[in-house]
């Protein structure tokens, strides 16, 4: 199949590549670019394991063609750490609050939560639950993921994190 030239920024680095028009962004990232943080859990855009940030929006990269991301600016879990190499508040929050178990949904969940906190710096529990409802987790029951995001929000806002009473 004829290939097309595309260029995009992924985690701050410019990538030039040839892709078939039908290549999905998730396969381009994982198979061609060895960016294996985003995962494939359903290929019908329900589970969100493949979530990446594309031009300031959370997208499910299993239902976007790589060619549609031409010229785009992408961030994956691999690009979440701070420029000095320390962990992002969300990464720290997920570990501190036990917001993951098997780890398969985690890259998509963190990247989604990143965009959520860009859009709403201090979300309520209800807003967090709604905001991550496009990302499925089979292990945690979400409660600790909500706490992890609250932890990160507090840290990014420079306030002390208060765990809600059980």
């Amino acid at each position: 199949m004829a290939k097309s030239q595309i260029a995009m920024k992924v985690n701050g680095k410019t990538i030039d590549a040839l892709v078939e028009p039908r290549t999905l962004l998730i396969h381009f990232l994982r198979d061609d670019q060895n960016i294996t943080g985003p995962h494939i859990g359903c290929e019908t855009s329900h589970c969100g394991a493949c979530t990446v940030d594309l031009d300031g929006k959370s997208v499910k990269s299993c239902t976007v063609f790589a060619i549609q991301a031409n010229g785009g600016d992408i961030r994956t879990i691999e690009g979440m750490a701070n420029p000095d190499g320390t962990l992002h508040a969300l990464q720290e929050g997920f570990r501190e609050m036990h917001g993951l178990q098997c780890g398969f949904c985690t890259p998509g969940m963190i990247v989604r939560a990143y965009r959520l906190l860009q859009e709403n710096k201090n979300p309520s529990e209800e807003e967090i639950r709604y905001g991550i409802s496009g990302n499925l987790c089979r292990c945690t029951g979400y409660q600790n993921i909500v706490k992890a995001i609250q932890y990160a929000a507090a840290k990014l806002n420079g306030v002390a994190f208060q765990e809600a009473a059980e």
Partner: protein, 806 residues
């Protein structure tokens, strides 16, 4: 000791051993996208495999033409049953003593069955070519109803064995019959029913559901023709079992098979079995001489690799009129699909289903299970439960509510009256299980008090009156469940898989500088083994958990083990870990005695060191002893500090719990809103409370999904109608309730550290608790049992049938 020496308590805290909410070791890689899952593996020259699958649930295959598929540029080979026959692999043995087609041989027996396997240079080409395999079918009559499987004219599912009167588990009474399995005392039970004051009977159905981990099943097979060695990377909950089974069926010597299970994205039972994709990838790699990857998609996962439950339980309980249970009996039809590929301990075709007498003191009981073939996918697994325990717990807990209702007693009060009492432990059930330990009354009382149960019942009463007066359209339901599990399979006298006793193992090496590595036969799929096993070692050996590396999933380095499922890791491998530590500690004590020039018996253990009794300043820490083990062992002692332990548990463990759910049902929309869910678990000694709580949250969420919306549904033509996330309900963060967790601690008397296992309790106890709550909402209107799942439609229908819509 001078003032600078930390106290025992301070030193113990630094170890991060038992009881510590230690942060997880594995998280560091997962939160940075650096996990290594099977689909992340890319080997040089690797090819991709994909299946052509049957659109029919039951059909004869009259022709398979692979010409067009093979002609697609990039296609390397196409396998069919005919190709596999040349290596004698068209069929494979199952763990349950049956055989199963690897690729359809002459006919297909369920929708999406594997018909041909295409191998190509990339996954897109493989998928294209799979569609181009031309198959001609002649449709056959279909049966997907297990209750009709043994009818005189039922379609013959398995022509290969239709005349066989003996199956793997005894006599077969029909060509679609697989096994009959009974337990308990039938005569005594029938006699008890004959003179019972009160009895109830209900058909309780636990629908077919799926474990559905977020990562599907996948593998990479890499056969080295020169060395004659196979390396198989895969999503395997039981890597050693895969190696042994792989060797037996491929005839590759077992020492030339290297099975590697890297990070696994959830398992819940789905990844115990051996599937066609693994076999085809192995054959494809042998044929092509290069690595072959197979990655299942979600539809394939939901419709072909594994299912769970599908039990139709005709349940009866007898009781005295003042509410003491006197007997129970249950006749069950179990739908095993087209092949009996259940992942059970081999001697137990219905698993540990005879735990069905639950937490109650039944004087006598009897169960009979008939397994049958239908045109559904094979591969029954214990989805987040020990084998068939969740079916049993659901059945007894529903039935106890129905009996309480008939007696006019409160559900909690009726349970309290019949719970096995503390002084009865160790307790032998009517089915012969010896429950190791329990304090059920304390747990039940704590649950009742924590939720203020009486106040809830008062509120419910008031709401029911208001409903009758037409002031509200909501019904309040309170669900109570008290469950007992049987986990930690298991004792070799009772449990084996294909003859291999279900022990498990741990091998620990302590390095000269006082750090170490522990390798095990189990395999984490999210349970946090790298964190928790190290905590056991920390407490046993007095070495900081951070200094212990835990490694699983490589059959070349790990001692033989039966893997992780059925909550067996902590009860079996956790015990092996503690026992291996004790061997190491015994040697360290001899070294300490030699160094301190005292007799072994003059030493006592103090957190992280041996000290001389009565002279605590004279001591040797475990770190010092590790160094000494490589440098100044006593004369005649061999150097080094390591041990391996194969642990054959003397008994199962019996975790238990008391759950209470409060919800409101809108009778006009069928919408159910969970207001509150309280879960008290007793898993014996608690290793890491943070991880325990996380497991309970996750298991409750899965239970919520099962009770409130999940079903692998087939239409009458055998089409599976719920094979994607569009149709198969997985709870999101929005629907998922808030969880309240609590605990009591009743250690197991036979486990070295008293631990019982916890990962599956919330699924086992959660499902009946939700279902009891929904049923309780309608109970005052005369309804006894509404089948799961309690989705909006079924709940609305229940209200409609009760005439609540005017």
């Amino acid at each position: 000791m001078n003032d600078m020496t930390p106290t025992s308590a301070e030193r113990a805290a630094k170890l991060e051993g038992l009881g510590c909410k230690r942060k997880r070791v594995e998280d560091v890689r997962f939160i940075q996208g650096k996990g290594n899952y099977v689909d992340d593996i890319k080997l040089p020259g690797m090819l991709y495999g994909d299946f052509n699958r049957s659109p029919y649930a039951h059909a004869r295959i009259t022709k398979i033409d692979t010409t067009k598929a093979a002609a697609v540029p990039g296609v390397v080979a196409v396998l069919t049953a005919e190709t596999l026959k040349t290596v004698n692999l068209a069929w494979m043995p199952t763990l349950a003593g049956d055989v199963q087609m690897v690729l359809a041989d002459g006919k297909v027996l369920f929708q999406n069955q594997e018909v041909a396997f295409v191998i190509a240079t990339d996954r897109y080409i493989a998928a294209d070519a799979a569609d181009l395999v031309e198959v001609e079918y002649e449709p056959l009559p279909v049966n997907v109803d297990p209750l009709k499987a043994m009818a005189p004219n039922a379609p013959v599912i398995r022509e290969d064995i239709k005349d066989k009167t003996e199956g793997a588990h005894g006599k077969r009474k029909h060509y679609n019959h697989i096994f009959s399995w009974a337990a308990g005392d039938k005569a005594a039970t029938d006699a008890a029913f004959a003179k019972a004051d009160v009895s109830i009977r209900e058909m309780i159905v636990y629908p077919r559901v799926h474990p559905c981990p977020l990562e599907t099943c996948q593998c990479v097979a890499s056969f080295d023709k020169i060395r004659g060695e196979l390396t198989l990377y895969g999503t395997f909950q039981a890597p050693h079992v895969i190696r042994t089974v792989g060797s037996l069926i491929s005839k590759i010597p077992e020492h030339k098979i290297h099975v590697i299970a890297p990070d696994i994205g959830g398992g819940f039972g789905n990844k115990v079995g051996a599937y066609s994709g693994y076999i085809c990838s192995i054959v494809a790699s042998i044929v092509t001489g290069v690595p072959v990857k197979w990655t299942e998609d979600r539809i394939e996962n939901l419709s072909t690799t594994a299912f769970a439950r599908d039990f139709y339980m005709d349940m009866e309980i007898a009781a005295t009129k003042d509410g003491k249970v006197t007997a129970m009996r249950c006749y069950t039809i179990a739908d095993h699909g087209a092949f009996d590929a259940c992942a059970n301990a081999t001697k137990w075709p219905a698993g540990l289903f005879s735990i069905i007498s639950g937490s109650y003191d039944f004087p006598t009981a009897h169960v009979l299970v008939d397994g049958v073939y239908t045109n559904k996918a094979p591969g029954g697994v214990a989805y987040r439960c020990s084998f068939r325990v969740t079916e049993a717990a659901y059945c007894i807990e529903r039935a106890m509510d129905i009996m309480a209702q008939k007696l006019g007693m409160d559900a909690a009060e009726f349970r309290m009256k019949n719970l096995i009492r503390r002084e009865q432990f160790p307790y032998t059930s009517a089915f012969g299980w010896q429950y190791d330990s329990g304090d059920y009354q304390t747990a039940m009382n704590k649950a009742i008090e924590s939720v203020n149960y009486k106040k809830l019942r008062d509120e419910q009463k008031a709401k029911r009156e208001a409903f009758k007066r037409g002031e509200t359209r909501e019904l309040m339901g309170i669900g109570v469940a008290f469950f007992t599990e049987i986990v930690g399979a298991g004792p070799s006298r009772a449990c084996d898989i294909l003859g291999i006793a279900m022990f498990d193992s741990a091998e620990i090496r302590i390095h000269p500088t006082g750090s170490g590595i522990c390798r095990l036969g189990t395999k984490s799929q999210g349970q946090g083994h790298e964190t928790t096993y190290a905590q056991i070692i920390a407490s046993e050996l007095g070495l900081a958990a951070d200094n212990i590396m835990v490694e699983e999933g490589n059959t070349d380095t790990a001692p033989y083990g039966l893997g992780t499922y059925g909550s067996r890791s902590t009860p079996v491998s956790g015990a092996a870990t503690a026992m291996a530590c004790r061997k190491i500690k015994a040697k360290a004590q001899m070294i300490a005695a030699y160094m301190l020039e005292v007799h072994d018996d003059d030493l006592e253990w103090d957190v992280d060191r041996f000290r001389v009794k009565g002279n605590p300043e004279r001591s040797k820490t475990m770190t010092e002893l590790a160094w000494a083990a490589y440098h100044e062992v006593p004369p005649g002692m061999e150097p080094g500090l390591e041990a391996v332990d194969y642990y054959d548990p003397p008994n199962f463990t019996f975790p238990f719990g008391a759950y209470i759910c409060v919800l409101d049902v809108d009778v006009d929309t069928g919408q159910v809103k969970v207001r509150r869910f309280y879960a008290l678990d007793d898993c014996g000694t608690r290793i890491n409370p943070m991880i325990i709580e996380g497991q309970i949250h996750g298991g409750l969420t899965e239970a919520f999904g099962i009770a409130m919306g999940q079903e692998l549904h087939y239409d009458e033509d055998g089409n599976i109608t719920t094979a994607s996330f569009m149709d198969y309900f997985l709870p999101t963060a929005v629907e998922t309730p808030h969880w309240e967790t609590d605990w009591t601690t009743t250690p197991s008397p036979h486990h070295p550290i008293g631990a019982k296992g916890v990962g599956e309790s919330p699924n086992v106890g959660g499902v009946p608790c939700f279902s009891n709550a929904v049923n309780d909402a309608f109970a005052f209107l005369g309804s006894t049992h509404i089948q799961m799942p309690h989705d909006h439609w079924r709940t609305w229908t229940a209200a409609e049938k009760l005439g609540l819509h005017g």
